[in-house]
Amino acid sequence: MAEAQAAATGGTAAMDRGRTWVVLYLATTGVVILLMMVFGLLMRLAQSEWIVLDPAVFYQLLTVHGIGMVGIAALGGIAILWHFLSAHVPLRSAALAINLVLFLVGVVMILWAVFIGGFAPAWTFLYPLPAISGGVWEPWAGVLDLTGVLLIGVGFLILCLEMGRAIVASQGGLGRGLGWHVLFGGSTDKPPAPTVVAGTMVVIVTTLALVAGATIVVMTILNLLFPSLAIDPLFAKNMIYFFGHVFINATIYMGVAAVYELLPRITGRPWKASRVFLGAWTLSTTMVLIIFPHHLLMDFAMPRWTMVLGQVLSYVNSFPVLAVTGLGALAIVHRSGIRWDLVSTLLLIAMFGWMAGVIPAVVDATVSVNYVMHNTLWVPGHFHFYLLLGLLPMIFAFMIHLARDEDVTARGGDLTAILYLLFGLGFVAMFLMGGWASVPRRWAVHMPEWLVWDRIATVMAAGVIVLAGVFVAIFLARIPRLLRHG
């Protein structure tokens, strides 16, 4: 439709909004999310001793669940960002097509490496684990898996470059995309729209993360092929966590475009990019790049100053954007006369999940706590909180929004969202309580004393999957119509 509009009004085909691709992205996202959730459920069932799972299979599922969720979070997040950003800057949807093809090829390679090659060092592929499997997998499986990761990274790099190009061309530079002309230059020009600011941040941090990721992935592949090329393990861990931390963090900054664009439309109140808003995004852009050492607090060989930086900035990092987004959302909703429905409730849950999910993260980034909680279930507790109740509700809200032909009239369904919140909270609470009781993470077999948390979590996970299935089914059912309008 956008192409037709563009042609009819003298615009160019280059300004199509990539709607068909966005729909395909979301369809892929929905299906893969459900599949990954089922993998997660299988692992919780095995830990609960309700099914028997070969530990080797458990670790394969763990690896695929991790890398799959990271990749699909980015795919869903980028679909949201692209859809809304393309209304502000002219994007070329060929980049979406290239990325999806590379993504799917990469996924096939990863699945082959894991389920046929037996590769299972978790998604972080921490050196030297890919090369020292104890005979569980051959080096080719590691090479295949990492090449798949590399291809997926190349796809996202192309997307970031295309968004960066469009922002530079339309705003005059990424600095102006972050509103620096208003923030530092005292310019009276109109500041960029909140979605453009978020998109600029995503472009900067994700591109840097992908460059670092490509470097360490190629180094690891070379190490698998030529073991004499040894990597400094501490360097490898720094690179992997820089890449991984920044990349997964960026997914929520992609998804937040849904909040910035849909809440104003639902409530009829504008979301303005004030100087405080711009300052917050600039601060977060900087800090998200340097806080990753909080993943290495137990690595005694790390320089002390990096540990201090990791802890202090972890406290500070999330608050600027969270404060302006959370308070902004509350201000927009407060006394707006909003009629809550599925989309708006999911968006509010997303804000809650993001804000509350940061708390266990910050707690774990404290050295004295990390000393006890490191490598316990507290860690998956924090990132499941953040992703399950922060990012995924944004993606589901956007799916429902598209399925409703972008009509923001309230249509009910908020009870489903509240049930999702309750099951989700129950699920992540079991992780956090397990961590509080020092239950280790990444163990295929659990002690009898830990089963109570595992079993409650399993029931909660089943509930989450059913509700997520409802959201995805609503969207999938509308795909033929959406594609006809594409």
């Binding site: 061309a169 460059v211 009509d407």
Partner: protein, 220 residues
């Protein structure tokens, strides 16, 4: 800069790199050869390639990616230790290397770079940085001396310099993107408004309530 001036500067750089006293000094040490002589020869060819693209490249944008890939492959070939050694030992290989760095690496790189759009340029840089870093790392960690003609200290120094260069390119590219250039915003905004209806933004609150794609609206 005019195409002819550009090509003349390119020829000057090639001459400088091949002048006996300069060439002798540059070829005496591995880091000077790879990060001194190679860039002079490649830059010489690239300036000529860019000048050619300016004159004859209209409508040849399709060739940019292939040209960049070909140039990078030739450059990569001459970084293989076996061929670095061969160029030191055999004058014929040295001549061939100089010719190919100018004509088969520099020329296509300049041609491709001049015709490439910002995405392809960014992609090339985003690939160059990890590759420079990885090859630098290999030079640092490989237990053996890779070039018979040069000391292992030279090899390690080249590795460190390549890592530094990769970082410098990354920082420069980020700063360049942050600074940007003149915005095409006004024209783009006008085209965007024609191409799709306005979104609900600060300027288009509840009353309009149109969607980004323009197919949705609030029901009464």
């Amino acid at each position: 800069m005019r195409a002819r001036t550009q090509a003349a500067i390119g020829a000057g750089l090639v001459l400088l790199a091949l002048l006996p006293p300069v060439a002798g000094r540059l070829e005496a040490r591995l880091p000077l050869q790879v990060l001194g002589q190679y860039p002079l020869l490649v830059a010489g060819g690239a300036l000529a390639g860019a000048a050619l693209a300016r004159r004859h490249g209209r409508g040849a944008g399709w060739s940019a990616a292939a040209a960049l890939l070909a140039g990078a492959a030739v450059l990569g070939f001459w970084m293989i230790p076996r061929w670095i050694d061969a160029a030191v030992a055999l004058p014929s290989v040295r001549t061939l290397r100089a010719l190919s760095l100018v004509l088969a690496a520099g020329l296509p790189l300049g041609w491709g770079w001049a015709l490439a759009g910002p995405v392809l340029r960014g992609f090339a840089l985003a690939n160059a940085v990890p590759m420079l870093a990885v090859t630098g790392w290999i030079l640092l960690v490989v237990p053996a001396r890779l070039c018979n003609s040069f000391l292992v200290e030279d090899q390690r120094l080249l590795g460190r310099l390549q890592l530094a260069l990769a970082l410098a390119i990354l920082v420069a590219a980020v700063l360049r993107a942050l600074a940007g250039g003149p915005a095409q915003g006004a024209a783009t905004d006008r085209r965007m408004r024609r191409a799709s209806p306005p979104i609900a933004s600060p300027q288009a609150p509840r009353a309009t309530n149109t969607s980004p794609s323009g197919i949705g609206s609030r029901k009464p």
